[in-house]
């Protein structure tokens, strides 16, 4: 099932854990748990949402991607790409 999830992410059609859950016909919390496991094993990465420049940016509070804004992201790593069937 983890390979199926990686393949779905690789297909690049689904954007949220909810959509992936629907595609796999499993509950969303299970997909979230799988995402955590894939991160732990290096197949996905959680990118830093703010770079160095953000600390001095006057608009940091306005930024939708700042830490703590509620947005969580996962990206496929090179290991994740190569593990896809």
């Amino acid at each position: 099932m983890l390979k199926a999830l990686l393949t779905l992410i690789r297909e690049d059609i689904y954007c949220t854990p909810q959509e992936l859950a629907e595609a796999l016909a499993v509950p969303a919390p299970l997909v979230e748990q799988m995402l955590v496991q894939l991160v732990d094993n290096g197949y996905l990465a959680v990118p830093e949402t703010c770079a160095n420049g953000c600390s001095s940016c006057s608009l940091v509070q306005a930024c939708g991607a700042r830490p703590g804004s509620g947005l969580r992201f996962w990206t496929l790593t090179a290991k994740g790409v190569s593990a896809c069937p």
Binding site: L2, K3, V26, P29, L30, S69, L71, W74, T75
Partner: protein, 676 residues
């Protein structure tokens, strides 16, 4: 159930006189009510300390029931037993080394799928497991039906429904523990199986390592953990195995590096089967507010239309409320300028009076009059941010960027660009590949930052009155359209095949907090005023000096006119007088300088400008303004991040050509259609 003091010695004989001792370990994730169950079972008969050699808290306690004494150990809350954390190591080491008579796995009945991975791992350890479905009352409130008997049949282990906070299920739990302990229960766990391809490898590994596995580890468990790549078990066996056997094992593990995907994947498939069999979730009609709203707001078509509608409302509110206030402030500033001119006439040299009235008050002061527009603009954006909508806007925008392969890690910096292009450029550091990073740097200045939007917010109503909302909306669309076209071109011809897939989680919608929005507006307004008092003020003075000298106030004979006439041929292609070209030029220092420069050169430009240029020229000017070369801070960031003058100049040249080309196109086509 009578509670007893803790039996100090864990190694004590299982039978104490007439009393039989049953050692029970409580396992489970954090926040599943494990501590409530432990407290309910042991009451005051608890001992709290630390696990030997660890800073992790250890809780033990006991209770007496008939002739049976239960010794409980509350294991640390863990999500799995993969040795990723000290808690996970403590939990699995306890089961492996202390061998409890029964392990009780506590699961949140409202989200059982979250805890079943831990159960899958517990079933591999040498201790029988009883599953507790805790929080059955919460699950019922959420409309989730969990069938304990079905789950029990599917798992082959006892399943006990509980509502620990309401004191329900404790007796049934102890009954189940005793039934497993005295083997009255037909314990036959249905464990997840691994794929046949890896089963062969697993059996080979068991054969190779069995003779060397240190006690008390089971050989099959050790072999499976080796195949999963468990660091602790790998280190254990590296030191336990003879060199030649280790080499063989190590080579095999390298060949099956991704076996974890199949092993863990099989566990998730097993969980999915269990959940499908035993859990019924609410139907669509019972969905939460967030899910119902997202059906529309993240839909490819309706979501995009909603985003465009939201954008239109943002501009409409900004103009409808902000513009009248701006007009009122503008009158005050004009009156202030005239009053200072009249008051200081004669007291100071004429050039100083003009500098104060036209350069400082007419330039930087003019920019400050747009404060109401910005306050409303930021307040509406803050409202959308705080309700959770902005994440949906990002999600919809990602679909738009999909075509050019610029989602994933490139998407985040571009998202930052809507605030300010400088952190957007710096934010590209998260992109690993140089080409993708440089492309993102090239495209980031095309994201309309708040400064560009502020200029449009001011100038669109000057030229287009009530139609300003649609003009501003269209200008944003033009920028994103140009970004998409450039992205597609570069993606197809420069960055072929490079793509970074990504998944994002959308937060729940919630009621906005007035204080949060107020803080958001305040921080942005302060930043704007700081800019107005420094960069814009200085630029206003420079522009004024260049426009005043050497002809003592005759702007047509000034240094600025000399520069402007150099730009006049390009301006003529767009129907723009040289003063507007100068306004564009000064925006290189800071985007808001366009307004300040127009204030210095035209005074009350709101009434003057519409009479000087045609609507196609005005639209062309706004298009150029939105696509023009970024401010000097952004250019410096591009140079700093690429360490390449060539790429920096390419970025500048590209923006210049695109902006002027688009402006000329808009003016020429507009003139053709509407007349001059």
């Amino acid at each position: 159930m009578q509670r007893l003091a803790r039996v100090e010695s864990e190694a004590a004989a299982p039978h104490v006189g007439e009393c039989v001792t049953i050692k029970v370990a409580l396992a489970g994730q954090p926040n599943v009510g494990k501590s409530t169950i432990f407290n309910g079972l042991t009451g005051m008969n608890q001992h709290v300390g630390n696990w030997p050699g660890k800073t992790v808290e250890q809780k033990t306690g006991g209770c007496l029931r008939g002739d049976k004494q239960f010794d409980f150990v509350d294991l640390p809350g863990t999500y799995s037993l993969t040795a990723n954390s000290v808690e996970e190591r403590v939990a699995r080491d306890y089961i492996l080394h202390e061998r409890p008579d029964v392990v009780v796995a506590v699961v949140d009945a409202a989200i059982p799928e979250r805890s079943l991975y831990l159960l899958a791992e517990l079933l591999l350890l040498p201790a029988p497991v009883v599953l507790v479905l805790n929080m059955m009352d919460v699950a019922a409130q959420e409309g989730i039906q969990v069938e304990p008997r079905v789950l029990e049949a599917a798992l082959g282990i006892p399943v006990v429904p509980m509502a620990a906070t309401k004191g329900r299920g404790f007796e049934a739990l102890l009954d189940a523990v005793v039934a497993v302990w005295d083997e009255a229960y037909p314990y036959n766990p249905h464990r997840p199986v691994i794929l046949p391809a890896h089963q062969t490898v697993l059996e080979e590994l068991i054969t190779w390592v069995a003779a060397y596995v240190p006690k008390p580890y089971p050989a099959d468990w050790v072999a499976l953990k080796l195949l999963e790549g468990d660091d602790e078990v790998v280190a254990l066996m590296q030191s336990a195995l003879p060199a030649d056997v280790w080499t063989r094992v190590h080579d095999t593990l390298l060949q099956h590096e991704d076996a974890i995907l199949d092993i863990a994947g099989a566990r998730y498939a097993w969980i999915a089967r269990m959940i499908r069999a035993a859990v019924v979730r609410p139907k669509l009609g019972q969905m939460g507010l967030t899910a119902r709203l997202d059906r529309v707001l993240t839909h490819p078509l309706w979501g995009t239309l909603a985003l465009l509608g939201v954008l239109a409302v943002v501009f409409w509110l900004t103009y409808a409320i902000g513009s009248p206030l701006q007009g009122w402030l503008d009158t005050l500033i004009q009156q202030g300028a005239e009053a200072s001119r009249n008051g200081l006439q004669g007291a100071l040299p004429r050039w100083m009076v003009d500098l104060l009235a036209d350069g400082l008050i007419g330039g930087a002061g003019m920019v400050v009059t747009f404060l109401p527009i910005l306050v409303i603009f930021f307040a509406v954006l803050g409202f959308l941010e705080d309700t959770g909508y902005m994440a949906r806007a990002a999600y919809i925008t990602d679909r738009f960027m999909h075509a050019m392969g610029l989602h994933g890690k490139s998407f985040l910096p571009l998202l930052l660009g809507f605030g300010c292009n400088v952190p957007a450029i710096l934010g590209t550091r998260i992109i690993e590949t140089k080409r993708a990073r440089w492309l993102t740097i090239l495209l980031a200045p095309l994201i309309p930052c708040t400064a560009r939007m502020a200029v449009v917010a001011v100038l669109a109503p000057v030229f287009f009155g009530r139609a300003a909302v649609w003009v501003a909306w269209g200008l944003v669309a033009v920028n994103l359209g140009v970004l998409a076209i450039l992205g597609i071109v570069f993606h197809r011809f420069v960055l072929k095949g490079e793509q970074a897939m990504f998944i994002m989680e959308l937060p729940l919608y919630h009621l906005p907090n007035a204080r949060t929005i107020g803080l958001y507006v305040w921080q942005n307004v302060v930043a704007f005023l700081q800019k107005a008092g420094t960069v814009i003020l200085a630029a206003s003075v420079v522009v004024w000096v260049l426009s005043y000298f050497p002809a003592d106030g005759d702007v047509t004979q000034s240094y600025l006119a000399w520069i402007g006439r150099g730009l006049a041929p390009i301006g003529a292609l767009m129907g723009l007088p040289w003063m507007l070209m100068i306004a564009l030029l000064t925006s290189f220092v800071a985007k808001e300088n366009t307004i300040a420069t127009l204030g210095v050169l035209y005074g009350n430009f709101e009434t003057t400008l519409p009479t000087l240029i045609t609507p196609p020229a005005a639209l062309g000017f706004l298009v150029v303004q939105m696509l023009f070369v970024p401010c000097v801070a952004t250019v410096a960031a591009v140079k700093q991040e690429t360490r390449s003058w060539a790429w920096t100049l390419l970025s500048l040249g590209l923006m210049l050509v695109i902006s002027l080309g688009a402006g000329i196109l808009v003016y020429q086509v507009g003139t053709l259609l509407l007349g001059g």
